[in-house]
Structure formats: structure tokens, C-alpha cells
Amino acid sequence: MSDHNLRKTRLDDAIDNAVRDIMQLDPRSGLRRRVISQLGAPVQSSSSWMPRVLVPVGALTCILAAVFVLSSRERSAPVVATSPVVGPVTVPAAPAAVASTPAAPATVTALRPSERIPPSRSSRPRLAATPATVFGPRTGRVAAASVPPVPGAGAEAADGALRPLPPLVLPGLVIPPLDLPALTPVKKDQL
């Protein structure tokens, strides 16, 4: 056998022996007795009680966090829903008209797609896409829960004219109508 082959064989054997040497140990004597003595008792190792405590606590924390997030969303939902559409719709609001309906936060009902004023019945230019048109019809459920109904608000669409809206007043926050120049329709050949 050449020295090279001998070395290779020795290396293989050496690896086998080293592994065997590491692994050929036996458990301490009395394992059976120790195990049986523990069978009635609850296991108290740190690795067993930790999950039993941490999992319920973690689950409870998740539930509380979810409830908190949901409730805070519900509280903030009307503001999010009305503020983007108030601006474009209330552009032509006249101060006098605002004064005539001081407490009419009827923004949601006035902007429902089903009640939107058809362009042919109004001389106003068509409005650009609003969140209501982009994200689908609004149900108004959230707003209806927090905004008191205004008498006569539904009649706005019936007579075909949008009434100017008052400033949106929230506790500690007043959002005035945007002061934008009125849009005038321009024909294509005039461009």
C-alpha cells in the first residue's frame, strides 16, 4: 500500500474513530428510576413553562392592540371620509349661503354617487374625480353614525342644485372651504 493510500485510509478511520469516540457515551445510570419518579409531577423546566405563560399573554396583547386600532380607526373615519371631498364641492360656496345654513354638515349625504347631480342639469363644470368616484360608492355608514342628519339635506339633489357647505368644524379644528377660482368650461377649439 502506498503512503498516499495509507494516509487516506488512516484519515477515514481517524474520522470514524473520532466520531465514535464522541458519540459512544451512555446516559447516567438510574435513568429509568429518574424518569418514572417524574411521571406524576409536572415538568418545571424553563423551556416548558415559558411558552405556557408567554403565549396567552402575547395573544391577549395582540387582541387588545387590534381592538385599540379598530376603535381608533372608527373614531377617525368621518374626518378622513369627508375632508377630501369637501374642498372641491364647496368651491363656489358664497359666504351668505354659508351663513344661511350654519349647522349643516351634510357633506356625506350630498356627495353620495346615487344623488350626484347629473352634468346636464347643472351649469357647473364637471368635477374631477373624487375619492368617492375612485374608490367606489360610499356607504356613509361611518359618517352617518357620527354626523347628525340635517333636515332637508336630501332635498339638495332633488332640486338639482348643490347648496354651499359650511366650514367643517371638528372639536378643536376648523377647516374652512378652499378658496379656489371657479372653473369655467372651455371648448376644445378655444384651447
Partner: protein, 208 residues
């Protein structure tokens, strides 16, 4: 209990299959479970040893694994071998322990490495008696070097190599424990040996 009675009891116990013992244990027979402990203690201990690398830790894991097996025994339906099921529990426990203690065995630093326990049969291969002394010394050093290098192997390779070298587990059982097909286990063992040889060659143990 007389010696002859003990012998009879032992022979009867050997005739009872693991599954029968499991059924008895499921009915609350602690002695039957004790017999299962006796039959599987070495396989369980060595599986734990391969994972945690310390005999003391492996002993604790072994005990925990058996206690857990007893607690979960009602859920065992005999769809697999009891031993395979038990080894899976053991391996999970051992891996948890390995993670929790955050250290892997220092094979080379262990006291056994310094004990000079040489199992090489070099005299048969090396005819020259003058050279034999040198080679024995060299092989001691080689053993220590291999232990060190086993400790540096990637976990997957090391686990497969040690489990396969334990002499207690089949490739199927190792595959069940590691969650890998038998072919993959075999490849890992061979790869572990290749890596070891390459590293040994790098420190001068193979001259080409």
C-alpha cells in the same frame, strides 16, 4: 425477586413489542413505560448528545424527552414506530436546548480529548516498530484535530455525521429527526467527511 424470576421477566419483556408496551402505558402502566425507557434510553441519549454536545445536557434532555413522551402518549396512535416518534420529540427538545444554551460542544476542548484514548490499530499497518511510536503520537494529535474540526462543521453536516456515527440510529430515523430525506442525510454525512478531509489536508495531514 429471585434471579430466575428476573430472567423470566426479562425474557417476557423482550417478547413484548414496543407497541404493546405503548398500549399498556397508555392505559397507565408505568412499568410498561419504564421498559420503553430502558429499551430506548441509549438511542435517545445519543440523539440528544449529537445536538447539544455535552453529556450532562444530553442527560437532562433525555429525561425531559421521556417525561414529555409520557405526557403526550395518549396522542400516539401507532402510525409510526414508537422509537421514531420518541426520537422526534428528543430531537426537538435537544434543539430547543441547544438554542437556549447558545453554545455548541467544544469537542476539542473536552477532557476526553486530552485523555489520550487512542483507538487506532496502527501496529498492524505500520511494520516498523521504530516508527510506531511516532505514529501513535501523531494519531493522538490527529484525533484532537478532527474533534476540533467536527466542532467547526456547519450544523446540518455535523448533526448528520454525529447521528450516523452514533451506531444507534438508522438513516430513516436520522431523516425523520432532521426532517430530510434519507438521500439528503447520506449526502450530508459524505459531505461532512469530505469537508473534514479537506480541512485536514489544509493543516498537513494529507500529502499529495
Amino acid at each position: 425477586m429471585s434471579e430466575s424470576t428476573q430472567r423470566v421477566t426479562a425474557s417476557v419483556a423482550l417478547e413484548v413489542t414496543d407497541l404493546e408496551l405503548v398500549r399498556l402505558a397508555q392505559a397507565g402502566d408505568v412499568d410498561a413505560f419504564g421498559e420503553l425507557v430502558e429499551r430506548n434510553r441509549r438511542a435517545v441519549f445519543r440523539a440528544a448528545l449529537a445536538a447539544v454536545g455535552s453529556a450532562t445536557e444530553a442527560d437532562d434532555v433525555t429525561q425531559e424527552a421521556f417525561v414529555t413522551a409520557w405526557q403526550k402518549l395518549s396522542g400516539f396512535r401507532g402510525e409510526s414506530q414508537f422509537r421514531t416518534w420518541l426520537l422526534s420529540i428528543t430531537w426537538r427538545k435537544a434543539i430547543d436546548r441547544r438554542k437556549s444554551i447558545g453554545r455548541w460542544l467544544k469537542l476539542a476542548a473536552s477532557s476526553r480529548a486530552d485523555a489520550g484514548d487512542d483507538r487506532f490499530d496502527l501496529i498492524e499497518r505500520v511494520p516498523s516498530p521504530e516508527r510506531a511510536q511516532d505514529i501513535v503520537l501523531e494519531s493522538n494529535e490527529l484525533q484532537q484535530q478532527i474533534r476540533k474540526l467536527i466542532g467547526t462543521l456547519p450544523r446540518k453536516l455535523r448533526d448528520a455525521l454525529l447521528l450516523a456515527g452514533s451506531g444507534e440510529h438508522t438513516y430513516e430515523e436520522i431523516g425523520q429527526m432532521l426532517g430530510a430525506p434519507v438521500g439528503t442525510v447520506k449526502w450530508r454525512v459524505a459531505e461532512a467527511r469530505r469537508v473534514l478531509k479537506r480541512k485536514l489536508a489544509a493543516v498537513g495531514y494529507v500529502h499529495e
